[in-house]
């Protein structure tokens, strides 16, 4: 099933033809269609009458279709309306959409199935024209499928500016997302994968809410690798629950935990692994260069199995793991061991576009192809720049299945790949040729050009707020910190806006312009992003950053660089993306592919300073007791990005002083 179509109703001899037609129509026209027999929200509605279908599709009236042809049908329609009315009450939509008896005349039609002859005509019949009504309809659909939008955000009026149109766009789950939330799990571990920006964390939160309120004795642990992200999630859960009108109190550290994966010895609730160690009374290990997380998990699994072979209790009913690409298999095994029902695992399809196996051997249960954050044009250019697709020597090449898993439509003609992406609902109100990405060459200085760009953005978007702009400094030298501090002063001086340097505060702050280096923007998105780099370099981790940073915007990304940093190929490639909504890339020859693979494998080693150092230790026969000291030395000498040769020479030179 595609992401355009969602079915949750009994398919039977009477309706299956119609349902198939709807599915075909939705795929042919790239039109979101939901076919239900009841509102999905809150999972508590059921009806005696079962011979009816509710067909929902943006920009079209709600169609309720009868194929039982008895008197009970009318009660069914009334009941559905009453229930949607009460849902709209609960989520405070009533002020905007009004009561069902008011909107049903404009936004709802009923049909007999045997009277529908042609699907195209059917949809023509129920088409809406008025923008205000379309907006109301989107809100009502969101109530049916539980894709609740913040009324404060979407507001009542039809927005007029580009910024407000995108900001206030009503978001609806697509077919894949709805399936994830409402489908019964088929295995203990449920994996969900997609590019960043496909809405994975949001889906986890919906599922969490669902399980927390419907399985009232459940004990749930929500975790991820990074502590900042975990802190962030912990703050997000209560506000999400409030927003979803969850009436139950959150019983922190009784029924629900949210912490990073490791934790510290002093506090049992500080991490998933830490809690598990406490629960099963097994040894807890803290991080050292000798103790990786994977190893700690492996030891925990063995110890639990050994100590609790005959009285195995479960620590949790469910577990949620976000950013699963930060873990390896052992942690998931540990989680499965200690969890009674399901472990939900969400992660990026690749942490880096330079990951070796993008399409896993194990298929995820849910693969989210659509990136909802960024305009497809921005995403395509970001991928192309990251992988060096517009360059003579490409840095990365994906195979056909991998392109597909990343959400691309592919057409291969004469060894040329035509790559394109589906348009997104979020941006459908914008002009098709809207330039969602722009390359800007600096004039006198980086800081002055950034100020000029900001002035331009403010000029074009009167309702803009400081936190609508993110400035991301891609380079890793010390100059970026100087630039950030200059910008800090200039922005306050010119706009009287507060500045938030994310690498200091480690959080997003309201009402201030965010400036960050490449390490502190995980999970953030902005209407406008200004990415700053002196020149495009070949280092894989840099290329991966440029890809991730450019895709942080949901209206427009600016790539700010020194003159002549981008090749003609890159500039022409961007032109084609904007004009034709696709990129045409020459497939590398087998020989070239081989070259890319070798270079790529070599560069992979460079990705981790830790692994590189380990290799050198083995080569030079360095005893374990000196490892920590040498690590610290390289850290202090700013050598975390140095290559193998440099590090090898450095360690050789210093070893004699350390081994006294």
């Amino acid at each position: 099933m595609s992401s355009y179509f969602y079915l949750k109703a009994e398919q039977n001899a009477q309706n299956s033809r119609f349902i198939q037609d709807l599915e075909k129509f939705s795929n042919d026209n790239k039109k979101l269609i939901y076919v239900l027999d009841r509102p999905l929200t809150d999972q508590k509605y059921s009806y005696k009458y079962t011979k009816a279908l509710i067909v929902l599709s943006p920009k079209n009236k709600i169609a309720i279709i009868d194929y039982g042809y008895t008197n009970e049908w009318e009660d069914y329609v009334e009941d559905v309306l009453e229930d949607v009315g009460s849902i709209s009450d609960k989520y405070l939509y009533k002020d905007i959409i009004g009561r069902p008896r008011k909107w049903k005349d404009v936004l709802l039609d009923t049909f007999r199935l045997d009277a529908i002859e042609d699907i195209d005509d059917f949809f023509k019949n129920i088409e809406l024209v008025d923008e205000k009504e379309k907006k109301k309809l989107d809100l009502i659909i969101s109530l049916f499928i539980g894709s609740i939008n913040d009324v404060e955000r979407v507001k009542e009026d039809v927005p007029t500016t580009v910024l407000d149109k995108v900001k206030q766009k009503i978001q609806l789950f697509d077919g894949d997302q709805t399936r994830f939330i409402y489908e019964e799990p088929k295995s203990k571990r449920i994996t969900i994968q997609g590019l960043s920006g496909t809405g994975k964390t949001e889906l986890l939160l919906h599922k969490l809410k669902d399980l927390y309120i419907n399985d009232t004795s459940s004990v749930i642990f929500f975790t991820c690798h990074n502590k900042i992200l975990a802190d962030n999630l912990k703050k997000r859960i209560p506000s999400f629950f409030n927003f979803m009108r969850v009436e139950q109190q959150i019983e922190w550290e009784k029924r629900l935990w949210c912490a990073n994966a490791w934790g510290s010895s002093s506090e049992v609730n500080s991490g998933a692994y830490r809690y598990i160690c406490g629960f099963y009374q097994i040894s807890f290990f803290r991080f050292s260069y000798q103790m990786s997380f994977s190893r700690a998990c492996k030891l925990a699994i063995d110890e639990i199995k050994e100590k609790h072979s005959d009285d195995m209790k479960y620590a949790f009913t469910y577990m949620f793991i976000d950013e699963s690409q930060d873990f390896d298999e052992t942690f998931f095994e540990l989680c499965e061991l200690v969890t009674e029902k399901n472990v939900y695992v969400a992660g990026d399809i690749f942490q880096s576009i330079f990951d070796e196996n993008i399409s896993n051997t194990i298929e995820p249960n849910f693969l989210l192809g659509k990136c909802y954050r960024t305009d497809p044009k921005t995403l395509m250019f970001a991928h192309a720049l990251g992988m060096g697709l517009f360059e003579k020597n490409k840095l990365r090449w994906l195979e056909e299945k991998e392109w597909k898993d990343c959400g691309y439509n592919i057409k291969v003609e004469h060894a040329k790949y035509h790559l394109s992406r589906e348009p997104l609902r979020r941006f459908e109100d914008l002009d098709e040729d809207f330039e969602s990405i722009e390359i800007v060459e600096i004039e006198q200085s980086f800081s002055n050009t950034i100020i000029r760009l900001m002035k331009q953005i403010i000029e074009e978007n009167k309702t803009i707020q400081p936190d609508d702009i993110g400035i991301i400094l891609l380079d890793q030298d010390k100059d970026v910190y100087r630039l950030a501090d200059i910008l800090d002063v200039k922005i306050q001086e010119c706009f009287d806006w507060e500045v938030n340097k994310a690498y200091e505060t480690k959080e997003k702050r309201l009402n201030s312009v965010l400036i960050s280096n490449r390490n502190n923007v995980k999970g953030l998105e902005f209407p406008f992003v200004i990415c700053v780099t002196k020149k495009i370099i070949n280092n894989p981790s840099y290329r991966n950053s440029i890809y991730t940073m450019l895709t942080r915007s949901f209206i427009k990304s600016f790539l700010l660089t020194q003159p002549k940093s981008l090749t003609d190929g890159m500039i022409d490639g961007l032109k084609q993306i904007v004009k034709e909504k696709k990129m045409v890339i020459q497939e590398p020859t087998e020989k070239e592919k081989e070259k890319i693979r070798t270079r790529f494998k070599y560069s992979l080693k460079k990705l981790s300073h830790y692994d590189l150092m380990q290799e050198i230790f083995v080569k030079l026969n360095v005893e374990k007791q000196y490892h920590d000291k040498l690590f610290q030395l390289t850290q202090q000498m700013d050598m975390l990005e140095s290559g193998e040769e440099t590090l090898l020479a450095f360690i050789k030179d210093n070893l004699k002083y350390i081994m006294r």
């Binding site: 501090d485 001086e493 340097k501």
Partner: protein, 205 residues
């Protein structure tokens, strides 16, 4: 003697003139000041407050705002290139640059640190803390802040207990004391008072 003067822009005042109550405040002020010195930003604004670094036998920062002067130690080596600052390093030669300043501030603003200001916890727990900041901050915490403030406070004047013009020496509740002044003092007097190459001032009641 080397002196460097910086304007303090209105939006920078909150970082500079917030009350100093402990070493964390001192460390922050030191970092904000070092950043301003390194930045040497020429603004078109005409501010009402300023900062001055005097490097001689003493190494001190002076802050001036209407009716309020104060000074703290600036325990770093400052390398000059003509009239400009080329670099600032700590006495154990750790670089005080834009990057390490941010690293220090990120620790000082960290929630966990505010709850329990222990650098050891930062060191042993796995996190993404920048170690350069940790080492620099450790050094800063060992310095003597040498805080002294001139106050002109009409509202709280109370005879000889709280003279209209006075100096506050030290900042902690348990260590601070006042020295009364017979009259208002100038910035020059305030600087000379602390200049060990100039003649001493005397107090005889």
């Amino acid at each position: 003697m080397k002196t460097i003067e910086c304007k303090i822009l209105p939006f920078q005042e909150k970082n500079i003139f917030s009350p100093l109550r402990n070493k964390v405040d001192y460390a922050k002020l030191l970092m904000f000041s070092a950043r301003m010195l390194l930045l040497n930003y020429e603004s078109k604004m005409s501010p009402s407050s300023s900062m001055k670094l005097i490097v001689e036998k003493m190494n001190r920062l002076f802050f001036y705002k209407k009716g309020k002067y104060f000074s703290i130690s600036f325990p770093f080596n400052v390398l000059f290139d003509g009239d400009k600052i080329a670099s600032i390093t700590s006495y154990s030669s750790r670089e005080v640059d834009f990057k390490s300043i941010s690293a220090v501030i990120s620790i000082l603003d960290n929630e966990q640190f505010l709850k329990n200001p222990s650098l050891i916890d930062f060191y042993i727990e796995p996190s993404d803390t920048d170690f350069t900041g940790l080492f620099l901050l450790e050094e800063i915490f060992q310095f003597e802040p040498s805080y002294i403030r001139y106050d002109h406070d009409i509202e709280r004047e109370n005879g000889k207990l709280h003279p209209l013009h006075h100096l506050d020496v030290n900042y902690s509740m348990y260590g601070t004391f006042k020295i009364g002044l017979n009259d208002a003092i100038t910035q020059q007097y305030f600087e000379d008072l602390q200049d060990i190459n100039k003649e001493c001032s005397y107090i005889v009641d």
